[in-house]
């Protein structure tokens, strides 16, 4: 009996957190309007969310592309189809790996930083201090970060994808001797703007929305102790990564499923 009661309580607390997350999202979206008059806040957050994530995105994009080129070559060369390597690299990056891996890296790099920052603000009572001064902390602190994350994610995914394609090109053409013209022309013939590239961009927009939302909510909802902040940061990375992979399946089924 006691156990069932506990289980129910836990279930309720899960739903309560979900509900709080929704309300938090509405609140922060409501704070968007006031950002028009203060674009400086967003620019500063774009710097810490976007520019600081650039290094990890650039390096991993190039390496993921190079690995794809190497692995794809080994399989394709058996069928004498190594000219299709460009198609393979570009399609897998544009449709899947670009948005997903960039979002996972973004969750680890920028998402955890957002959670820790806001959680620490809460633990050191900066947020309550703002409320005392009649400044809405969601509007002042959270909304600009959300907008910055929402803008950064598609750009980071696009940079990741393009560098991945060039990484694959670097392995395929100079190292493995795939024909230069066939690499590009087959890629351009088979990668469709609407079916592939636009869907990839839609994916990265959705991931940016979800990851930033989770990161900000976890920070804002953290227990205001050092342990609570550390737990919230871990939760951000785990939940955001799971959400990215789950949403990726749903979006892929919607976009490319028969």
């Amino acid at each position: 009996m006691e156990r069932i009661q506990q289980l129910l309580l836990q279930l309720f607390s899960v739903f309560r957190r979900l509900g709080r997350g929704q309300l938090f999202l509405l609140h922060l979206l409501g704070g968007m309007a006031s950002l028009i008059t203060r674009p400086g806040l967003v620019v500063r957050q774009l710097y810490s969310v976007g520019v600081h994530s650039l290094v990890i995105i650039v390096v991993s994009g190039i390496f993921v592309g190079m690995v794809l080129g190497l692995q794809g070559y080994n399989t394709l060369v058996d069928f004498g189809a190594e000219e299709s390597l460009g198609v393979l690299v570009a399609l897998s990056l544009v449709r899947e790996l670009g948005p997903v891996v960039a979002a996972l890296l973004y969750a680890g790099r920028a998402g955890s930083a957002l959670t820790a920052e806001i959680g620490l603000m809460k633990a050191t009572e900066q947020l309550s201090g703002m409320e005392m001064m009649a400044v809405d902390p969601v509007r002042r602190i959270v909304s600009p970060r959300f907008l910055a994350g929402f803008i950064s994610m598609p750009l980071l995914a696009a940079i990741f994808t393009v560098l991945g394609v060039f990484g694959g090109y670097f392995v395929a053409v100079p190292l493995l001797g795939v024909d230069d013209g066939a690499f590009w022309s087959q890629m351009q013939a088979r990668v469709d703007f609407y079916d592939d590239i636009l869907n990839g961009i839609i994916k990265s927009v959705v991931f940016g929305f979800v990851v930033t939302w989770i990161a900000l909510f976890e920070g804002y909802d953290a227990t205001p102790t050092s342990e609570g902040v550390s737990r919230a940061t871990t939760r951000t990375v785990v939940h955001a990564s799971l959400a990215v992979l789950g949403f990726d399946f749903i979006l892929t089924a919607l976009m490319f499923g028969a």
């Binding site: 650039l54 750009l155 696009a158 393009v162 351009q188 703007f193």
Partner: protein
């Protein structure tokens, strides 16, 4: 203040880099540049069997892409597939023809090609058809071909030449050859083998 400026510059660079990446994706990796939509004239053709031909499949002549398939649907009366294609006039040009739809001749009696939009050359007294015709003859042929053994299917056009009358934009190409299904060819081959043995 100086700190602020660096931040702004770096953010601007980041945004610029992202937008350049999006443009590279659209134009260099993808094929957005080949979507110059509204230019081009239509032709259609009816096939008994189109196999795996899809909308946006290439239309080629002598292996050079000159257009794309824009629609595929069924003719409910004849139970044949109608394929509509759009041809890029920069690749397969339109021309002026005489009132009877034939190619104008010059003083020596040789046929000449007057691109659409230009009048008859000075000195010649040729009554030109007010509209533009394609450079395909009326007995032009369209066939559904396959790239390689298992590749994509596309349409190959042949210009014809027996008739001296030209197709107009929007006309139907009457000589068509359906796609060849590999299964049928193999089936026929096996059938013939059995016949020979008996």
């Amino acid at each position: 203040m100086g700190q602020n400026r660096t931040v702004e510059i770096l953010v601007g660079l980041f945004m610029g880099l992202g937008i350049v990446a999006l443009l590279v994706l659209a134009f260099y990796v993808g094929n957005l540049s080949s979507y110059n939509n509204d230019t081009g004239y239509h032709l259609e053709a009816r096939f008994d069997e189109i196999g795996g031909l899809k909308v946006r499949a290439p239309v080629t002549m002598a292996g050079v892409q000159i257009g794309r398939v824009t629609a595929v649907y069924l003719d409910n009366l004849e139970y044949r597939a109608i394929v509509e294609m759009k041809i890029d006039p920069e690749k397969l040009s339109l021309q002026r023809v005489t009132e009877t739809g034939e190619q104008p001749l010059n003083q020596d009696g040789d046929p000449m090609l007057i691109p659409c939009g230009e009048g008859a050359p000075a000195g010649s007294e040729i009554a030109l058809f007010p509209e533009c015709a394609t450079v395909l003859y009326e007995d032009a042929a369209a066939s559904i071909l396959t790239a390689g053994m298992l590749g994509e299917q596309y349409i190959g056009l042949e210009p014809g030449g027996g008739a001296m009358v030209f197709l107009l934009p929007g006309d139907e190409i009457r000589m068509t050859q359906s796609s060849i299904a590999l299964e049928q060819v193999i089936g026929q081959f096996l059938f013939n083998q059995v016949d020979k043995e008996n």
